[in-house]
């Protein structure tokens, strides 16, 4: 038997043993998982970023001029490590402030452009979709356009907080919540699908790669 796969199988079954009940084997596997995954991340970030991008960026192996502005990144990074100390831990807020600011600046526009503006533009749909050649109405797409338009507007009405949900506005919000529920239903179905796939992957590892029972 392949020793590598055997080890992987033992670890797999060790984690699954939690399903019966919490037990020392599971907790041991969990502890190993935490250690190995922290080590994995640290190594990858060390070699692919710190060594490859930062260090060889500042001191290129081919002897060309280095990019010394990269030092700023490293200095900010080192400040981050001060968080481990309770006395001067506050200084770690500087790099954090940098990351938070940069992310806020980038997101502010990217989300606005891609998730608001372009979506609004794409919802300005013709409620009548006509076949260019024959000139007749394509009913499936016409209904689809209507569904999208009504769904988006009523959904926005539901999330509009400056007006009480009464009268026509309230009725629209009601339609909005129905649309949201169908949306969440779709998400629900897809999430179940996703979770089942994860299990299928492990099962196929156990029966195919390890035991070799399936061709």
């Amino acid at each position: 038997m392949d020793i590598s796969n055997f080890l992987a199988a033992v670890l797999t079954l060790g984690i699954f043993s939690f399903l019966y009940k919490d037990n020392p084997v599971y907790r041991a596997c969990e502890a190993i998982f935490v250690g190995v995954s922290a080590g994995y991340w640290a190594i990858v970030f060390f070699f692919d970023n710190l060594q490859k991008k930062f260090w060889e960026g500042v001191f290129p192996p081919d002897g060309s001029a280095g990019d010394h502005l990269l030092w700023f990144g490293a200095i900010l990074g080192v400040l981050m490590l001060f968080r481990l100390s309770s006395k001067i831990g506050w200084i770690a807020r500087w790099p954090l402030a940098f990351i938070v600011g940069a992310t806020a600046g980038l997101y502010m526009i990217t989300y606005f452009v891609s998730n608001a503006m372009n979506q609004v533009a794409d919802t300005m749909l013709s409620l009548i979709v006509v076949n260019d050649v024959t000139g007749s109405i394509i009913w499936t797409q016409t209904i689809g356009a209507l569904v999208v338009a009504v769904g988006v507007i009523s959904g926005l009405v539901y999330f509009f907080f400056s007006k009480e949900h009464k009268g026509v506005f309230g009725a629209t919000a009601k339609v909005g919540i129905w649309f949201l529920m169908i949306t969440f239903g779709a998400s629900f179905g897809y999430t179940v699908m996703s979770r089942m796939s994860l299990l299928i992957g492990r099962m196929s590892f156990l029966f195919r790669d390890w035991l070799g029972l399936i061709g």
Binding site: A116, M124, S126, L127, I128, L156, F184
Partner: protein
């Protein structure tokens, strides 16, 4: 005459020369006078007509193995608008021999000369391509380009383009509308925050889930069982956690009034500190500071599944009558909701994470959906920055709804009745909102 057209004609001349002489071209000075251009146009037309007339002969010539492909035509270089002066675009019309069913053309090569120096190869491109973006230019230099058709080892060059000096622009006017709308929304957010700070009364509608809170706490009191509050698994830097704790403030006050017990295991030490402060303050407001104890909030572990296992244990052992799940939740949402459900607790949940919301809706009694969580938090806290943001966002939603309705009506009218006026409005709106890069 716009330079592009001059260039276009110059390109055509180059082709014709090639066809006639069968040799590669030299640089052509484009005709500068409109009348000269017209003359050139006439020549082109006559050549084209003669080419059509000779078509059979040409097709026969196609099959010869040593046939050289035609060069690309109409090679035009344009400065890319609204950049830092570091991009020019070269476009051309592919060689007429570049047809999917023919294999004569292997692709194109683009050459550049900077400041009148030698031509250097920039890139080899696939057949069918008719554009190249050169992003290795600077505003300090002047460039000329030519494109060549590749066929085996053979290359046939186009004419050389006009000289171009990349220009930089300060402001990207393509995005002017984006900027205007962003400023309107940002401005209204700031304005509303300012108004709220000045003490203006900003209206926020009632949130349905909040009504259930009183009832749920009352039920726990009747049954004499504790209330469990889970603020998600993220730290204090997540807005959902903060919103959860704001609602906790209100819940804790009610609990103090009713003299019920609260139990709050958390997965971050900072959240523990903040939650203790929140509950303590609420007990003080309720006039029962003596009833508060630090044991109400306990830190469990940062580890996701470890935390879930511990909370599950608490649920099963202490059987809380009411469970609040308000904050940022991940895969653990369904495990918590399921266990809570199995002990028969009333569950009030809320998160802004779309992937977890379905599970809460299916397994809990009340769910604050997405933004409702923040709205509830703003409503309860009355904090100016939260309230102001909420109102400002409503302005954004208002604009979105209005634009959609207007655009929809315009497009529909334009399609149904083919009225130009509506088409104009529809196109205009689309231009304002669609920002797709080219």
């Amino acid at each position: 005459m716009p330079p592009a057209i001059v260039n276009f004609i110059a390109g055509q001349v180059g082709v014709q020369q090639l066809v006639v002489s069968g040799t590669s071209t030299t640089a052509q000075t484009p005709p500068s006078h409109p009348r000269a251009a017209f003359l050139v146009l006439l020549i082109i037309i006559s050549f084209t007509i003669s080419a059509i007339a000779q078509e059979p002969a040409d097709t026969a010539a196609f099959d010869l193995p040593d046939e050289r492909p035609a060069p690309p035509t109409s090679v035009v270089v344009t400065d890319f608008k609204y950049d830092a002066g570091n991009r020019v675009d070269i476009t051309w019309v592919p060689s007429i021999d570049d047809q999917p069913e023919l294999t004569l053309v292997d692709g194109y090569t683009v050459y550049r000369s900077a400041n009148g120096g030698d031509y250097k190869l920039l890139d080899s491109l696939l057949p069918g391509i008719s554009m190249y973006e050169d992003e290795e230019v600077t505003p300090d230099s002047v460039y000329t380009y030519y494109v060549a058709t590749m066929s085996g080892k053979d290359t046939v060059q186009s004419v050389v383009t006009q000289e171009i000096r990349p220009e930089w622009e300060l402001v990207n006017f393509d995005l002017a509308w984006l900027f205007v709308i962003a400023v309107i929304i940002s401005g209204s957010i700031v304005w509303f925050i300012w108004r709220a700070r000045a003490g203006a009364d900003l209206f926020v509608r009632k949130i349905a889930g909040l009504d259930a809170v009183d009832e749920a706490i009352g039920r726990a009191t009747e049954m004499g069982r504790p209330i469990l509050f889970i603020p998600g698994i993220l730290d204090m830097d997540d807005v959902q956690t903060i919103a959860g704790l704001t609602i906790l403030g209100r819940v804790a006050k009610q609990i103090a009034d009713y003299d019920t017990r609260i139990r709050m295991p958390v997965s971050r030490s900072l959240v523990m500190t903040a939650a203790r402060e929140t509950i303590k303050a609420s007990y003080q407001v309720a006039g029962r500071p003596d009833a508060y104890s630090d044991d109400m909030v306990s830190y469990v572990t940062d580890e996701q599944f470890g935390y879930v296992a511990a909370v599950d244990g608490i649920m099963v052992r202490e059987k809380p009558a009411t469970i609040f799940l308000l904050g940022a939740f991940f895969a653990e949402s369904l495990i918590l909701a399921e266990t809570g459900n199995s002990i028969g607790a009333i569950q009030i949940a809320g998160t802004a994470r779309p992937a977890q919301l379905p599970f809460f809706i299916a397994a809990c009694d009340f769910t604050l959906i997405g933004e409702e969580l923040f709205a509830a938090s703003a409503y309860l806290s009355g904090e100016p920055k939260q309230l102001g943001s909420l109102k400002g966002q409503d302005v954004g939603k208002g604009i979105a709804m209005l634009a959609i309705i207007l655009g929809m009506v315009a497009v529909t009218m334009a399609t149904a009745f083919e009225i130009d006026f509506f088409q104009m409005i529809a196109d205009g709106l689309n231009q304002v909102f669609s920002t797709k890069a080219e």
